[in-house]
């Protein structure tokens, strides 16, 4: 099982054993990882599961599609490595992925 590490705004790290096929958002919610609200429940219809993806994984995680980009456009403090975690599906390739949650979700 791949391990995903969530790092909160204060730098606290939470490594989680994730399941293939689930998303980075779902894994966070199921394991009560703070910093991710996921108001829309994974429909790519809000921007409250915003995370920053570790640079080393940017290629593997890939680029946001149109709708995700539209939602990210209205999130706060968006960076080049910003993604909505409901749109990142976990696979063995992402073992060791590190994502940082922003100070607040908007």
């Amino acid at each position: 099982m791949p391990t995903i590490t969530y790092i909160d705004h204060d730098g606290t790290e939470r490594p989680i054993e994730a399941k293939n096929g689930e998303t980075v958002m779902e894994t966070a919610i199921k394991n009560s990882v703070p910093g991710i609200d996921a108001d829309c429940g994974g429909a790519c219809a809000c921007a409250t599961c915003h995370v920053y993806v570790d640079e080393a994984f940017m290629d593997k995680v890939g680029q946001p599609e149109d709708m995700e980009q539209s939602m990210l456009d209205f999130a706060e403090n968006v960076q080049a490595n910003s993604r909505l975690s409901c749109q990142i599906q976990i696979s063995d390739d992402l073992d060791g992925l590190r994502v940082t949650t922003p100070e607040s979700q908007h």
Binding site: A45, C46, M71, D73, S104
Partner: protein
């Protein structure tokens, strides 16, 4: 003898609950005014969740009543256009100033981006101490042990002060803001019977004149984080002053968006805790439930009952074909009571799991940008109420707003009981 309102309610309700399904019309404002709209939506969700009505006071329209279908429509802005308006009807006077909530990409995006920093979370954290101080002042001025209208003394006052701050509006003139908000929403386009559209236009023109003066003043000063300064300084919006109708439209959007919605959630919370006394006890025993309760209040109130779209192409939904050009109304008030997504949805539960999963803020690119301001005001208010009062008692049923858009309260009679 039943009063006239009762008769109207019964007739409208009977027609919608017992009449043929293809004639059901949830847009009748009397349903909302008497708080019986939920029964009509329950029927639609059960019998005809994607419902077409060929003839109504607002012309033919589709009603989308299930949570997931609302998410589908709301997040598909390429098929479902927000232009030229996001309310069910078009005003009889055709006075429909453009505003970014009622625009599609790309214009929507640039205007929203210009205004949004005023209500972004980091900006709000700067305002928290100020808001708390104001909440305390308002609560400390309330009479204890005697009846008063909570809407007027608390809900309107608090949201007005907040709005004045977001606009950096002259504080002594702040009561103009809720007045203009009421003017903007008193329209025949949302089912208000006898709305005086000439009077409405006159006051909206005053609003435009007032803000145009503020705009010129702000444009000549360094940029700050209020809405007017942000819009006056952004490259994308600084010429809005030369498009007075567009300026007025966006002012109406920001005033109504920041006013009516939170106002009615503030009143609604008080009412719900009285309707569900067990929840009030839970809250008193555990004030840490406040943030979760805030989301539950916003779901249960659903301060804006609907948003409308126009289909730009044919679209299949729930086994029906929505045709290009059709008017589509997403009933948030219904989606928030959808039992398939929300367990015991008709119950107000302050410790509900995943309380944030509601449709009150909408979804997709038009999702409410002031959601964090709303949540913060409600959170601080309840923190301070619990510190001060043993019980906030609703002493008679509220008087509600007549509108199929703004779900709210005109009068909520309460008596405050001091802590022992």
């Amino acid at each position: 003898m039943p009063d006239t309102a009762q008769l109207i309610e019964n007739d409208v309700l009977a027609r919608n609950l017992e009449g043929p399904i293809d004639k059901v019309d949830p847009s009748e404002a009397a349903l909302f005014e008497h708080n019986v709209h939920h029964e009509v939506f329950r029927r639609l969700r059960r019998e005809d969740p994607v419902h077409f009505l060929p003839d109504s006071a607002f012309g033919p329209y589709w009603s989308i009543t299930k949570f997931q279908d609302i998410v589908t429509v709301d997040s598909n802005h390429k098929v479902f256009s927000s232009q030229p308006s996001i309310v069910i009807g078009d005003p009889t006077d055709n006075f429909q100033p453009p505003m970014f909530i009622a625009m599609d990409q790309p214009k929507h995006d640039v205007q929203r981006r210009a205004a949004q920093p005023a209500v972004a979370p980091t900006q709000l954290s700067e305002l928290e101490a100020l808001i708390r101080e104001r909440v305390c002042t308002i609560l400390d001025s309330l009479p204890v042990g005697e009846e008063f209208n909570w809407v007027e003394k608390v809900s309107v006052e608090l949201t007005t002060q907040m709005l004045a701050t977001l606009f950096d509006f002259p504080f002594e003139d702040r009561h103009k803001l809720p007045f203009w908000s009421d003017v903007a929403t008193t329209s025949d386009a949302v089912g208000v019977v006898g709305a005086d559209m000439e009077w409405r236009m006159k006051h909206l023109t005053e609003c435009l004149e007032y803000f145009s003066r503020l705009w010129v003043e702000r444009a000549n000063q360094p940029q700050k984080f209020d809405f007017i300064s942000l819009l006056a300084h952004s490259e994308d919006t600084k010429h809005m002053i030369d498009e007075p109708m567009e300026l007025l439209g966006n002012l109406m959007l920001l005033i109504v968006g920041g006013n009516d919605t939170t106002r009615n959630s503030i009143s609604g919370g008080v009412y719900f805790l009285n309707k569900f006394p067990g929840e009030y006890e839970k809250l008193k025993a555990n004030p840490e439930l406040i943030p979760n309760m805030v989301s539950e209040i916003i779901r249960y109130q659903t301060p804006l009952a609907h948003m409308r779209r126009i289909a730009l192409e044919d679209f299949e939904l729930g086994g029906k074909t929505i045709k290009k050009g059709d008017k589509v109304v997403m009933w948030y008030a219904s989606g928030n009571r959808d039992e398939e997504v929300i367990e015991n949805a008709d119950e107000f539960r302050i410790d509900r799991e995943r309380a944030r999963h509601h449709v009150s803020f909408g979804f997709g690119i038009h999702r409410c940008m002031g959601n964090r301001v709303a949540e913060m005001q409600l959170r601080i208010l309840w923190e301070e109420i619990l510190k001060r009062f043993d019980h906030l008692e609703v002493v008679s049923e509220p008087e509600r707003v007549q509108s199929n858009f703004v779900t709210g309260y005109v009068n909520l009679p309460v008596v405050l009981h001091a802590k022992a």
